[in-house]
């Protein structure tokens, strides 16, 4: 039964092949079912396998399809490794993935390249499953790159607009930077430990490396590089907001629910390595904290509905990194799951809004949609509540665990906790800013919104996700086997005050945004009056100027070099040789004057020189 696990990536792959080999010529009524159905199937299998696994009580289960390559002790295989962690991940991927596919059949229904869209989607799911199921880092890397490729293809899905192409390339190249660091990490791990099989590698590491040894630090740092790239954390976060150029279901699936959390998965998967390098682990937490604050700020200033959600995603992943950093592993994964639910919900809902407004994304051109789009309204309401960790929504539990985990950490722990709470405050503000502006007040839209777009296959997923976003917090993630070393806070022994604060702060944020954007008691313009404020706003709006920085430091110099050396300086060296010999020819040919007496002279001269030379030597 568990052997069926190999079917998981296979179904989507078959779907992909079916759609591609037919050259995207399949009619929608066939392509849709293939696209969504393949994911549905693998979700079914995933559910089966999962239940089987839980009942079997195994710690973990590996299934080897075939040996990939075997070169002098380097022999990664196509081997799937199932344990609590990968099980949760695969369920999220297939489950949420299936809902999003279903939604997409409606959302994309009037797009000419419908089949192409689903082929990419299926390929993505397949690769993502490889990523989480791979038992060795090479297979993981395969999935890792595969999802990157699909993300590239899907961001640039509407290729006629160069901007999309640019966003796609940016996403790919920036993440590729991280991937390269990760690849180097793999080289290091293999060179030192002689294997890339994750479990063996971790074991060997614990055997060979002492706590905080240089190798451990280097290796975990390099892997972290990969993680921040994929998960859009500082300093490689810049690609995610632009990635919103893709169709909204993509943003939901890839850039909210699954792919961007791969970094979190990677770190969780290799957590013993990080535990061996406490400094790096602290760095993880720090990155998470800074990222969540910065992107929280930025989210408050954005006007594009999807960009707001994008920044909020970055910030939420920041929470997860914070969790990882403070060692609250399962909390991080837990938040990963709940985040997948509510963020997917928000994106899909925003998709409906955008669609009904004929691809309008500026929130200030919306307003008062609550009557027009009830389903989206409720989806947004629930999603936002979960996102702001409103008590007893799914987000509440997961975020709590992370913050408490932070508090467990002695010393800096408190500051991490504090930062997290502040972040939660911002979350409240920007989430409900969006919510109020879009659904209340009076409509700013040029043309009235269509009534609820999409049929059951767009609303169905929304409703299911609403339920998950509400109740997801009560799901118990079976991760103790994975992170078996003492999860500190099974029962939190913290004062009620802390709890109070953690519940109150988000509500405070909501209240603030109510005063600003609902009741208009205060107005933003009042804040924006000062020149400094304006500049700050512009600065935050541009995402703290990271793009500008990278352009100035990396992109422009590269382009400059490329431009000046288009002709390839090396070649000119050979060109020089040619011209030299031509010059020599021109020179020496002059000696052939045709005059007999000159010839005689040269002969005589040559003789004299030769004789004197010979006589001297």
């Amino acid at each position: 039964m568990l052997e069926l696990i190999w079917l998981l990536p296979t179904f989507p792959l078959l779907g992909f092949l079916a759609l591609v080999l037919t050259g995207g010529r399949l009619p929608k009524r066939i392509a849709g079912p293939i696209g969504a159905g393949s994911i549905g199937l693998s979700f079914a299998v995933a559910a089966l396998v999962a239940s089987e696994f839980l009942n079997s009580g195994l710690e973990h289960f590996t299934y080897e399809a075939w040996v990939w390559m075997s070169v002098g002790g380097f022999n990664p295989g196509f081997t799937f490794y199932l344990d609590g962690l990968s099980m949760v991940m695969m369920l999220i991927i297939t489950g949420v993935g299936f809902l999003i596919h279903l939604y997409a059949t409606g959302y994309m229904s009037d797009d000419p390249s419908f089949a192409r869209f689903f082929s990419y989607m299926n390929l993505f799911v397949s690769a993502m499953l490889m990523l989480v199921l791979g038992d060795n880092l090479v297979l993981l890397y395969l999935g890792w790159e595969g999802v990157g490729l699909c993300s590239y293809l899907l961001i640039g899905f509407w290729y006629t607009n160069p901007a999309n192409g640019y966003a796609a390339r940016k996403a790919f190249v920036v993440t590729r930077v991280g991937d390269t660091s990760m690849a180097i990490g793999l080289f290091l791990l293999f060179a030192q430990l002689g294997t890339l099989n994750i479990q063996e590698m971790l074991h060997a590491a614990e055997m060979q490396w002492s706590l905080g040894s240089g190798f451990a630090v280097a290796a975990s740092l390099l892997l972290l590089g990969g993680a921040v790239g994929k998960s859009a954390q500082l300093p490689l976060q810049t690609w995610l907001p632009d990635a919103m150029a893709g169709p909204t279901p993509i943003s939901a699936l890839i850039h909210a629910a699954t792919m961007v959390t791969a970094g979190v998965y990677l770190i969780a998967r290799t957590h013993p390595l990080f535990e061996m390098a406490p400094s790096v682990q602290l760095l993880v937490a720090l990155i998470g904290l800074i990222t969540l604050l910065l992107s929280g700020f930025t989210a408050m200033t954005q006007s594009d509905i999807k960009r707001i959600l994008a920044y909020s995603t970055v910030s939420q992943i920041g929470y997860m990194f914070l969790g990882l950093g403070v060692g609250a592993w399962s909390a991080a994964i837990f938040h990963l799951m709940t985040h997948a639910f509510f963020k997917a919900l928000l994106f899909l809902a925003s998709g409906t809004v955008i669609l009904s407004l004929h691809h309008e994304q500026n929130i200030f051109k919306m307003g008062g949609l609550r009557n027009a789009l009830p389903v989206s309204f409720f989806s947004f309401l629930i999603g936002s509540l979960a996102l702001t960790a409103f008590p007893y929504t799914s987000g509440y539990f997961s975020k709590d665990e992370i913050l408490l985990g932070a508090l467990e950490l002695e010393g800096v722990g408190f500051w991490f906790w504090l930062g997290g709470v502040v972040g939660a405050f911002f979350t409240g503000i920007y989430t409900f800013r969006l919510f109020f502006i879009v659904f209340f007040g009076d409509s700013q839209a040029e043309h009235p919104p269509e009534k609820e777009v999409g049929g059951w296959h767009m609303n169905g997923p929304l409703i299911l996700l609403m339920i998950l976003a509400l109740a997801g917090g009560f799901i118990h993630v079976p991760l103790d086997a994975v992170f078996n070393h003492g999860e500190a806070h099974d029962e939190h022994n913290v004062s009620g005050l802390i709890h109070g604060i953690m519940i109150a702060v988000p509500l405070l944020g909501i209240a603030v945004s109510y005063l600003f954007f609902m009741s208009k008691t205060f107005s933003v313009d009042m804040l924006m009056a000062g020149a400094l404020a304006k500049r700050l706003h512009a600065f935050w709006f541009g995402g703290w100027g990271f793009d500008t920085l990278y352009n100035a430091v990396l992109v422009s110099p590269f382009l400059f070099l490329a431009r000046v050396n288009r002709k390839d300086i090396v070649d000119s060296f050979y060109a020089l040789i040619v011209s030299v010999s031509q010059a020599a020819n021109a020179l020496i040919v002059k000696s052939q004057t045709g005059s007999l007496r000159w010839y005689a002279l040269t002969v005589a001269g040559g003789l004299v020189v030769m004789v004197s030379l010979g006589a001297v030597l």
Partner: protein, 487 residues
């Protein structure tokens, strides 16, 4: 001393050649007949070659103090006679249309060959002088042959005067050098100078003498800086004459140079060695550079011949260092290769030319590949061989030179050899590329001559030799290895 019959038998080739010349002359006296004269000459040359071949196996002795008849001599006698015959065949259609007496040309050809054969078989100053001058004298005539023609295509007069004056001067050097050496050694036979140092005359004289002799020969071999005449004479001369000059004229002189240098052990004098090395490097570089952008095929071949003589000198220098005879083998093989390929190259040129219109600019060959595929292919083969590309005899020859150079560890010379060949590629490929270019209609008329079957056969068999020796050189190499021991 007296000459015995046996000796006469040994110098049979020379006798045959002389006889041929006499016969041709009397035939002309009886009645002018172009065809007959040509046939007599060709036949005589062939017989001479065959006699040389038959004599080769077991012959090795001095005939009078003047001539040494050993396999090495006979081998080159055969080679020279055969090439002379080829040239005769090539000349036939070329001169057919000449508006002047045509028969004497073959007479000169025969006499020149006598000179060449004497030259290769001489190990004595007198015979060397005789051979050299016989060769040169007849070459003056051949170069100037079309001078009476009302419409000579070229400048035979200018060419011949230049050649005459300069080569007479060169003979002067040669003679003066011989005189000095004679004054030192007291014998006119090639003899070792190294063991003469204690004699009354300071060795300075002998060195100067050697240098003068080398200069004289260097002129004949058109080594830099004695090369200036070469392109002009080649261009001005009628093609067959230029061919003779370029092939036999060079090979024969080189053989005698080799013999002289080997016997006199001149190379043990550092000065001589240095001078030869300088001559080699200069010739290689200057020759190739001069040819680089040359548009006239005859001049281009002239320049490239300068370079090739330079290559050969490397082996001469090497022959001093290498124990074993690799240097001499390399020279001998390369000479054969050089004769084959330049004979072929000139052959193609003279095939498409006539005494009243020579096709000697590269543009004449544009698109030849698509009009005369086989001819062009053969010309290409010759060019590649001159450039030293595998599948051709030129490559094996160059391989031999490289080997000699490596064994003697002459790194600077090898470097110049590589550089030179690199430059060389450029102009050989230029010709090939020009032949590959699509022909435009205007050329059609210019380059569709009625090719005489005789010349065609000659060039064809040269090409076959070129490829055959390029792919399976073993027999010739073994032969040369065997005969080189006699030098």
């Amino acid at each position: 001393m007296t000459i015995r019959i046996a000796d006469l038998l040994l110098i049979l080739p020379v006798l045959v050649l002389t006889g041929t010349a006499v016969l041709a002359m009397s035939a002309i006296a009886v009645g002018r007949n172009y065809r007959v004269t040509a046939f007599i000459t060709a036949a005589g040359l062939l017989i001479a070659a065959l006699s040389a071949v038959t004599l080769m196996p077991k012959t090795n002795q001095q005939v009078t103090p003047l001539l040494i008849v050993d396999p090495y001599t006979l081998f080159f006698t055969a080679v020279i006679c055969l090439s002379a015959m080829f040239i005769a065949v090539l000349s036939y259609p070329y001169l057919e249309g000449l508006d002047d007496d045509r028969e004497e040309y073959f007479l000169l050809l025969g006499v020149a060959t006598v000179g060449a054969v004497v030259l290769v078989s001489s190990n004595h100053f007198v015979s060397a002088l005789l051979g050299l001058e016989t060769l040169s004298m007849s070459l003056y005539g051949m170069v100037a042959y079309t001078v009476h023609s009302q419409k000579p295509d070229k400048y035979p007069l200018e060419a011949s005067v230049k050649y005459l004056v300069l080569s007479a001067a060169a003979s002067g050097f040669l003679l003066f050098g011989m005189a000095l050496v004679y004054g030192q050694t007291g014998t006119l036979a090639f003899a070792s100078l190294t063991d003469m140092s204690e004699s009354s005359l300071g060795s300075g004289f002998s060195v100067v003498g050697l240098l003068l002799i080398i200069a004289g020969l260097a002129f004949k071999l058109s080594l830099v800086p004695f090369h200036m005449w070469t392109p002009d004479v080649y261009e001005g001369a009628p093609l067959p004459a230029a061919t003779y000059l370029a092939t036999i004229g060079k090979a024969a002189v080189f053989v005698v140079l080799l013999r002289f240098v080997e016997i006199s052990e001149a190379l043990s004098l550092t000065g001589i060695l240095a001078v030869l090395s300088f001559l080699a490097v200069l010739s290689i570089l200057a020759g190739n550079l001069l040819a680089l952008l040359q548009q006239n095929v005859k001049r281009l071949l002239a320049y490239s011949s300068i370079a090739h003589m330079g290559y050969l000198l490397i082996a001469v220098v090497a022959s001093f260092y290498t124990e074993g005879r690799v240097g001499i083998e390399a020279i001998s093989f390369y000479l054969v290769a050089y004769i084959i390929m330049s004979l072929g190259a000139f052959g193609v040129t003279s095939m498409v030319s006539r005494s009243d219109c020579e096709r000697d600019t590269i543009d004449d060959y544009r698109g030849l590949f698509w009009r005369q595929p086989l001819l062009a292919a053969m010309f290409t083969a010759m060019m590649l061989s001159l450039a030293g590309i595998p599948l051709t005899v030129g490559f094996i020859g160059k391989f031999y030179l490289f080997f000699a150079g490596v064994e003697a560890a002459l790194w600077p010379l090898l470097a110049s050899l590589i550089v030179g060949s690199g430059i060389g590629l450029y102009y050989y490929l230029r010709i090939i590329y020009r032949m590959l270019e699509p022909a435009d209609s205007s050329d059609q008329s210019t380059m569709s001559p009625q090719l005489s079957s005789g010349s065609y056969g000659v060039v064809l068999c040269l090409s076959l030799l070129l490829l055959g020796l390029g792919i399976y050189p073993a027999p010739v190499i073994d032969l040369i290895e065997a005969i080189s021991t006699y030098v």
